[in-house]
């Protein structure tokens, strides 16, 4: 008798947690820097293989955005900052470190996640969206990275899968990357900067800081068949607010709680 009551209790528990409500939201969620950045309760460090796998495993996560930096061997690595000592057990800049040196480094976190090459992420063969945020400025050298070198790194990597897009923060880089066969999205501060990219065929979308674009501006770009991406969406309250603008993609930091909105 007691056993039946316990079983009934558990069945009630499971059934009650099944929401019947269906989502009508068209916006898609992207994991910022893998499974999120700057989250005090995050499970995985940003730009880690574990975080990327976790994000790609969630049904309602449409893809990941990752930050890429160039090593001394012209290889693309996943790393957000320039200085290694801030986040890892290494010293110096990513730009000056060899692949061999970077391969031996790990994050200064409890689980000591290793640094990851972009090539290893592409080997996951996920069909979900992968946005590459290329760092074209080196804090260590206090100067822009040679755009020709950025092009060389992508050429070294070979053709990118169709699900990969590259986020650029200056139209000066466009001339170097436009012939490499992958779509580009341009990170801009406000809608007035759109004009520089409107006639560029390879530019398929625009990336905005969420607070710097309105619903009407997003609609204007969507009417011209551009995709609109929003970032700096760190909380669920912020996500709810930005969903009302109906962008195509939102890069979120609280990934696990964001996916349950859909």
């Amino acid at each position: 008798m007691h056993f039946r009551v316990i079983i009934l209790f558990f069945i009630t528990l499971i059934v009650a947690s099944c929401s019947k409500e269906k989502s009508s939201i068209q916006t898609k969620i992207i994991g910022h820097a893998g499974s999120g950045m700057t989250q005090w309760n995050g499970l995985f460090v940003d730009n880690s293989m574990e975080g990327i796998k976790y994000a790609l495993s969630l049904d309602n996560c449409y893809g990941v955005e990752i930050d890429i930096s160039i090593s001394a061997d012209s290889t693309l690595w996943l790393f957000h900052d320039s200085e290694l000592s801030d986040r890892t057990n290494g010293q110096g800049c990513v730009r000056n470190a060899t692949d061999e040196y970077l391969s031996g480094l790990h994050n200064k976190t409890l689980h000591q996640e290793k640094l990851v090459k972009l090539k290893d992420v592409l080997l996951l063969n996920s069909n979900k969206h992968i946005i590459l945020d290329g760092k074209n400025y080196s804090q260590c050298q206090q100067s822009d990275i040679d755009y020709g070198l950025i092009k060389k790194c992508f050429e070294k990597l070979g053709p990118l899968p169709e699900n990969v897009v590259v986020n650029i923060s200056t139209m000066e880089l466009y001339a170097y990357l436009k012939d490499l066969g992958f779509p580009l999205i341009l990170k801009i501060d406000n809608i007035s900067q759109v004009t520089s990219a409107l006639d560029k065929e390879e530019v398929t979308g625009f990336m905005f800081e969420a607070s710097k674009v309105t619903k009407e501006e997003i609609r204007f770009l969507q009417d011209k068949n551009y995709k609109v991406y929003l970032y700096e969406v760190r909380s669920i309250a912020r996500l709810k607010k930005e969903l009302k603008k109906q962008p195509d993609y939102i890069l979120v930091d609280d990934l696990l709680n964001s996916v349950i909105e859909f």
Binding site: L13, A16, L43, L56, A237, I260
Partner: protein, 164 residues
């Protein structure tokens, strides 16, 4: 024979009076959510077992999403001083939530924490706990990629109980 019956009666009498039932409510802070719980427990001398049922407040009220949790608790009382009781606590929790409205994917969280609790009061008691340990997050159906499942976790609990 009479003395034996007396001893048995005395033993049973003292046993009955050393048992305490408690019911109460508590809030439990975990990195994942803040849980609101109802709990019941049974204390016999230094041993106490409890059953706790609750749900995540943030998921429920901010996201309109049900995130239930059930826990079993074992306390060993190592200090009993007037109105204050101090316990070593071991708790095992299971919580689950659906990962969206359009998917059948579900998150399962298993937690095994140890720590300390104290109760202050007589009939009405205030109880606080601080616990830490391991938790495991599992996603079902099995996801495309395997990721780390075991992590370190912690929780703080504050609650009020009625003992009878």
């Amino acid at each position: 024979m009479k003395s034996l019956l007396f001893l048995i009666s005395f033993f049973c009498f003292t046993q009955v009076f050393s048992q305490t039932f408690k019911v109460g409510i508590s809030t439990e802070f975990k990195p994942r959510d803040l849980f609101l719980n109802v709990n019941g427990s049974f204390q016999k001398e230094n041993h106490q077992v409890g059953l706790i049922y609750g749900f995540g407040i943030q998921r429920a009220f901010v996201q309109n999403h049900y995130f239930p949790q059930i826990s079993v608790n074992y306390d060993y009382r190592f200090l009993n001083h007037d109105l204050v009781q101090l316990f070593a606590t071991n708790t095992f929790s299971y919580s689950t939530m659906r990962l969206g409205k359009t998917t059948h994917q579900r998150l399962h969280v298993l937690e095994e924490y140890i720590g300390f609790s104290y109760e202050i009061g007589n009939k009405i008691r205030f109880r606080n706990s601080i616990l830490g340990g391991l938790y495991s997050e599992l996603i079902s159906p099995k996801p495309a990629y395997s990721v780390r499942k075991l992590n370190l976790g912690y929780q703080f609990t504050i609650g009020v109980l009625y003992a009878f």
